[in-house]
Amino acid sequence: MKAFANMHPAVSMLYFLSVLLVCMFIPHPVLQAEALLGGALFCAALQKRGAALRDLGFYLPLFLMVAVVNPLFSHNGVTPLFFLNENPVTLEALLYGVSLAVMVIGVLLWCKAYNEIMTSDKFLYLFGKLIPKLSLVLSMALRFIPTYLRQSRRVSRAQKAMGLYAGKSITDRVKNRMRVLAAMISWSLENAMETSASMKARGYGKKGRTNFSLFRFRASDGVLLAICICLLAVPLIGAAVGITDFMYYPRVGVIQTTPAAIAVYAAFGTLSVLPFILEVKEAIVWNYSVSKI
């Protein structure tokens, strides 16, 4: 599943931000449900089936927990369902809990997809022009971390083979990790000075440094960008004119069904299932071209 991952970083970043913004900040049941659905479909398309099922085992209990906890201590609303320790458990609070759960799970799913698609190099590319020096720092840190991890494993084994803190008790383990971390600081800073020599040897530090990347902005990226902007504009305008306002307290509001409101739902619905559609289209095209061979 590569269709969305191959898009230009700017397009995918804009896409994720817009979906997340709407999902987090416009608490309208239809939009939130659409975001949850889109996120779930996208994550399912990105993963193998087994992993997706395992995720369900994680998100479902979380969903129930968030939904149930809210009415237990929020007693707003006018429709009591029953009383617990003389406190009313209201329908409104329960529904608000459900909407919170939809939002939380939706955000988590979209963040999961984001983490899958927006790898560190895309992030660096996007911010390389805005904060060039820091993005170089980030790139170096990203380069160091796996090296440090490997070296720390070596140090830990070397120490173990000398019988130092080789025990299995918690204190031995914590002590061992701390010794390793301390040893790593010396080692890494010594090496960092060699790295700085290598940077200077290649002329780092002169004015007018440029930022190179392998990403190209293609026509398809432009098309997707335009579609995203249009689809995002509709719910934002909807929010501006109050179509997406929705109240839970004191009484649960009514979901609008005016043509304008339908348009808002349709636009955001399309936006949130867009990556899933792209992935499915890619899969079909691929199967078709394979069958032709």
Binding site: M140, R143, R154, A161, G163, T195, R202, G203
Partner: protein, 556 residues
Amino acid sequence: MELFRVENLSFRYPKAERDALQEINLSVQNGEFIVLCGASGCGKTTLLRLLKKELAPVGEKTGRILYAGAPQEALTNAGEIGFVQQNPESQIVTDKVWHELAFGLENMGLPTETIRRRVGEMASFFGMQGWFRQKTDALSGGQKQLLNLASVMVMQPKLLILDEPTGQLDPIAAADFIATLQKINRELGLTILLAEHRLEEVFPIADRVLVLENGRILLDDEPRKIGLRLSKLHCDHPIMLHALPGAVRIWQGLHIDDTCPLTVREGREFLERHFENRAETLPEPEVPRIGETAVELKNVWFRYEKDAPDVLRGVSAKVYRGEIFCMLGGNGVGKTTALNVLAGLDKPYRGKVLVGGKPIKDYKGGTLYRRGLALLPQNPETVFVKDTVRADLAEILEVMEIPRSEHAAQIEKIAEKLGIVHLLDRHPFDISGGEQQKSALAKVLLSEPKILLLDEPTKGIDAFAKSNLREILRKLKRDGMTIVLVTHDVEFAAETADRCAFVFDGEILSADPPQKFFAENSFYTTAANRMARGLWKNAVTCEQVIEGCRTTGGQL
């Protein structure tokens, strides 16, 4: 055309007692391939760094360095002189291969399209297409060093300076790297100044060799004349004895009036021209008496993860008490894993490991590592966690429950034995690779092991430190220690081991005394053996070849 001219250059580090470089005079012509050699601490690195003004060390400098006829300060383009250091790991700046290649060009402020072109060109010249988009961290050591070279080459330098670039590489990767340098020199006409301590491959391809000693240029001549002039200066010069290619050493040891051979082929022709074999084989020393088994692997199977392929497939081996046992083999055949299994770091999922006749599992809570078994890891710096060598050594004594009052004496004793007394109060990261290794060995030995395991002990140390290590290992053996080592270094194994074993595809294939072992190999053997095997199949070291020529070889 003259690229570099160094006139009367002397240099002294701040607070140092003597000059690191004295009265250096040197001229580098365009297109030359120059090799710089000398023991560690002779001033090689200082000289090379002074030539690259961005890396010039701080200190007192007299004399002049001219680049293309003008003082070197006038050179503004850092890309014109490329510099590659020893450690492949620490020179890489960014996290992706393509970005690393582009790094220097970004610094020069070139536009994206130009960078794309140049990076693409270099990647295809170096054959990097397969790993162009990979993370730099996922590369092997050899690939990393090649990447360092390529990301310097992409800036289109006029001169390439390399400071022991193959020091951390295994022999195959090192040979690849040297071959790439030769290609760059031949095909692109690029001037190369290379400091090396492994001279076997670079000697034959160099135009000139500079020998540095105590901060002075001892010799500056073409490779064929270096051997002769060196032996005239003093015949037991450490470089002569240990570092020069086998062919030169044999030629020098025989004192025959003929041109000096440089490669294995020339060496063989030289030997065949002057000697005939009157005895099929050289006499072999008595096979050491087979004693008690110190450690044993019994049908050991190991893999790192459940779904990963097997790394060890039924390895069986016995190591006898008091011998030096050497495991040889290429990359990724399972040598180091076998050693780690012996050390109790990796647990086999099938088979048995016996240490002193007792299953390794039965040693509980670190008892294995007290007066039992010790491992010197491949990277000696992983052994140190304190801020002086002394503190690091004391830490082990603490674990060994030796009373505080005896610490000083014990540390003094081991330091003298290994010759590191002067290093005790230094920081472990302030000393050279060879010194680091000896200090790490001292720390490991303080646990009074009966069995010592060493992983690639010759990596990154120069010829002198290598022969020093050999002496130490022999001394330890005389004291009754069993030593198991894993190495790529066939020359070291031939000169050190009592028995050598060949590891391939997760198995130990054979274990024999080195003369027998190498006599049966035709490719995987020492340079001396490859030269002399037509005369004596079992002449393995240069000394044996020379000895053979003197005693049983009839001179023609």
